[in-house]
Symmetry: D2
Subunit: 363 residues, 4 copies
Amino acid sequence: MGNTFGHLFRITTFGESHGGGVGVIIDGCPPRLELSETDIQVDLDRRRPGQSKITTPRKETDICEIISGVFEGKTLGTPIAILVRNKDARSQDYNEMAVKFRPSHADATYEAKYGIRNWKGGGRSSARETIGRVAAGAIAKKILKEVANVEIVGYVKQIKDLEGNINPDTVTLKEVESNIVRCPDQEMAEKMIDLIDQTRRDKDSIGGVVECVARYVPKGLGEPVFDKLEADLAKAVMSLPASKGFEIGSGFAGTLLTGSEHNDEFYIDDNGNIRTKTNRSGGIQGGISNGENIIIRVAFKPTATIGKEQKTVTSDSEETTLAAKGRHDPCVLSRAVPMVEAMVSLVLCDHLLRWHGQSKVLT
Amino acid sequence: MGNTFGHLFRITTFGESHGGGVGVIIDGCPPRLELSETDIQVDLDRRRPGQSKITTPRKETDICEIISGVFEGKTLGTPIAILVRNKDARSQDYNEMAVKFRPSHADATYEAKYGIRNWKGGGRSSARETIGRVAAGAIAKKILKEVANVEIVGYVKQIKDLEGNINPDTVTLKEVESNIVRCPDQEMAEKMIDLIDQTRRDKDSIGGVVECVARYVPKGLGEPVFDKLEADLAKAVMSLPASKGFEIGSGFAGTLLTGSEHNDEFYIDDNGNIRTKTNRSGGIQGGISNGENIIIRVAFKPTATIGKEQKTVTSDSEETTLAAKGRHDPCVLSRAVPMVEAMVSLVLCDHLLRWHGQSKVLT
Amino acid sequence: MGNTFGHLFRITTFGESHGGGVGVIIDGCPPRLELSETDIQVDLDRRRPGQSKITTPRKETDICEIISGVFEGKTLGTPIAILVRNKDARSQDYNEMAVKFRPSHADATYEAKYGIRNWKGGGRSSARETIGRVAAGAIAKKILKEVANVEIVGYVKQIKDLEGNINPDTVTLKEVESNIVRCPDQEMAEKMIDLIDQTRRDKDSIGGVVECVARYVPKGLGEPVFDKLEADLAKAVMSLPASKGFEIGSGFAGTLLTGSEHNDEFYIDDNGNIRTKTNRSGGIQGGISNGENIIIRVAFKPTATIGKEQKTVTSDSEETTLAAKGRHDPCVLSRAVPMVEAMVSLVLCDHLLRWHGQSKVLT
Amino acid sequence: MGNTFGHLFRITTFGESHGGGVGVIIDGCPPRLELSETDIQVDLDRRRPGQSKITTPRKETDICEIISGVFEGKTLGTPIAILVRNKDARSQDYNEMAVKFRPSHADATYEAKYGIRNWKGGGRSSARETIGRVAAGAIAKKILKEVANVEIVGYVKQIKDLEGNINPDTVTLKEVESNIVRCPDQEMAEKMIDLIDQTRRDKDSIGGVVECVARYVPKGLGEPVFDKLEADLAKAVMSLPASKGFEIGSGFAGTLLTGSEHNDEFYIDDNGNIRTKTNRSGGIQGGISNGENIIIRVAFKPTATIGKEQKTVTSDSEETTLAAKGRHDPCVLSRAVPMVEAMVSLVLCDHLLRWHGQSKVLT
């Protein structure tokens, strides 16, 4: 259970790190959307391992195949199945992990829950699982763009204690993609890259914060009370591997202000639209988008799998130590950027469809 | 849409602040659980307005009626319907809000989404909606206690910049309930109460952080990949009114550590159980509970409705000002404690049932 | 579980025959629909007991209260809660059934499943549970009428071996309501009434077939592959108490034809629309409405609870006999008509909204 | 939407008749079940085209590949993805159907709904879509067998007006598989085969009835009120291509009996179990299994695609005629048997898991 996400734009992912492959079924995609593998591959390439010196050297081209749901270049309205085969799987790197649990990884909990686990490369708990999300997210992004001109841009805001200075209202995809760490503050990006590089050499790992902005989101998306837009966004990104925290708008810092300081006062703009002067709400009020930019932040912990020796136990409850082999990211943040964008896109697209399915029915 | 939560232990809430009442249907409750209104009323009393000098003076006794699903003191396995009538509704306080949107409240977005809204007291966006959650949460708590001896304790961790010093591993409900702000650090609690009181006199509002711990949660709860336990917890509490951020375990602070500092090393305890020495994971690894204490934190913004005059607009797009009448909380945190506990209970109970429905079927 | 129906227009019912009451929550209703208790009461009155000499004499006025979701005569888009209190509950009639299982009723299976049951009047398995369905169905009907001018008319087609001659393409609600058995073939209706009356005097019961037609359903409703329109209709009506069979269009009789006899040939009508000359498909092809009249039939078995003595067993596994007391319908068919209409309306309304939420998004 | 089925044992199918392939994701399968492609292939072979002279000559070996969810011969508890590639696709046979709608087929309704369709071989509306169902059903069958020793046997009961004489309480899979039409009444089977053969030569088609029995189903499965076991069974089989009717137990014939004739009287059997003397209920009372054999019947219309010339229209609304090319089944019944078994298995397995997830939690 738990491998399906979304209510009208609904995805189901499958696959383990080592095995036949990974992929996704997208059910509920509106018909007649132009779509090809190329649309999807762009984001898969931003996610794939081996894309730069600061990511894991595992070589996966992650070429996707659309198996169903597209005909003569357009979506049919039927399920879109996307498959990516596993290629460069060195399962021998994982032999030790067949018996030793990696600290702060999912090895021990999968064993406790299922009484069995695919110990090669983390199986289902591998970041490789996010391929399906990113592929589906690329389609969601395209729908959002076509229907409502929505723009979604994610970027690295912080690596360990290095924080970039970025304006979410103006940042562009091009700026994000201009360096390998995906931090559009170019000066800070270089420091971040150096830090990650040093961490890799130390056989250690570091974490950080991804920020993501969605611009031109129509007013009215989000379904009170449980499916508030920020609630679904929180679930979406907190279901990504290694995420430990979520904020919308002012977030935790907002707790330090008074209501009169924090409230976003309304005004009428030059086009007669109701707008807010500030955006501490992060584009959502009462669970519903208000037309301002939606801004969220996600905390990612340092990668659990590290080369340094750590104390751990075996599946037979023996104490031991482990210095992980295998090819791992010293820092997942640059690759997490397309993942966060994908999850934000999936939520917004689903709510866009839900809005069509309720609020717009009676005219 | 969006008023149902949970997969096997599934609740649906209804009701507006002013109208016939509010309530909840609980579907999927295991049969033969002893249950009476008293079990539910305890938590409703912790949530209700007018309970102390630091909450809104609206007088609601919030007496609940179980309409169905219980027979001769035991649950039937059929839907449990719980109704709380609205009593002390002074809708005249809201006449001004029929046309003026409160800044950072849901007035404008409900209007944008639905083209209509119950402007009396915020309608569905009122915190009064949480009565159904708290009632259902009380039942979830009872199941968790009976089946697995799980303990769930929430408390105020921070009010504005005042932060309590509390040990989540040992804090008790009694300590939490020993003061009206529900901060078990008694010294800090007094300062918090003074600050809230001062804020009320200033016709302003403040926010803060609620922390919640769940102890003795069995290993194995949580459904990768989208319904990871932390993802469902995040959604659950981010669907509460005024929440702006969520953390599990080390949270945002965890991004400042290296992997070797952050990882929770395993050991074998005296009973032969696999445990972790530290708990930066917050009781969940790979989306699945690991048997350690589950610890989360939720940021609540300062209450949007304040007595101070603010700039705003009318539903006819005229700029104006508003100094809100009505009876509002200067700080929602003390009342948010049972809400957070309820949402955590609902998630854990649902996942307990899901675990029975998959992992335990083949023996 | 299992008390929620529908994907976008989603209802949850609650309540037992004897207890606080019965009702329904409707989530996903489009906002700004004019709605009052009167709209709902019409169908509840067609469903209620004691409405004529051929139904159970239990006296229930079944007056409904809208508790939430409606404001100043219009739907808010928030959950609509409807409550009907139980009044004329003579639970003493059921004392014997506290220990004796009624043959072919749900007593024994509820006991087996839940280990507990509300034995007063059948509890949740009582036909009284359908009040919530009929109330919700009345709203669905209204939406279908407003959005697409859909007409839904149900009627008694057959009582035991008495079969009416009715044209589904032209039959009107007025004709159906012109006699108490709700068979618009007036001559046959009288025979049916006499047969039911005789059966009542015999302390026995009889069953029959309800037919229901939906006219002016837009082309394109229904979601292949599992949520085909006929599949959802089948589930809807087979979830009604006492239903034993379902047919769409040619149904079982269609198995006696060859393909060349059975196929509905296409033609272009005077308005240039694609139509079928015959309608053996019953308005649905490939799970999707084709614009022709949707015609279904539902078989209802004879009422299980009868006054005649029958062999049975007790909950303590003793063999015994039972001649049921209590006030029961000798034939449920006339009251089943609004139930079938309600279920058909709920399915069509849900699929209308789903169609808006997928097929109509890209234009 | 609509391509997912089940609540805890949940499947999602994908794929069109002509394209990359078809398949299914199974989410919620209990971990540690022994499983290999062989377990699945058995039923796929019973479903596949070209298996005998009375089925379509399309040559598809329908070899399945398990892509994920199985490790070292056992299920992981993670999603099981199964893929079957399309091989013998002669899309040129369908060129005419690119513009002409086949009468009583899904061509016109898919076009109306989606504004686009894969006209090659019926696309998603092809019976080829049922491969995913049959594959998933084979796993469900295996779980039912292991956990509760449930046996599910389907067979052809009727072809056009030829009806077999079969005892559902004793019929075996071996008897069913002993002839190519899958009617265990051997004498009648020969007549059926002759009739199908003649129909094929006539370029026409015929339909019939599949009956299916589930034996040793535990008492207590089924979730009142909407997810009654017969309701979910009805939806399951009415979602199969070409189905037009559903019956459980006495079905439509039961409407001709009185209650005293129809009711299943209880008795205590030699083992002290509560049983019914007759089984007109078909193993389900009040939506819940009662431990007796579950018996259903499904009506399948004659195949829509026939070689005989019929009147039809084009997608440009021109009247025309069509004599279908392509390779089609003159009668789908023998291949429908494993499909019906699969759908019954999926429903029962899902409800078995749901029962574990609610009724069995408190002991």
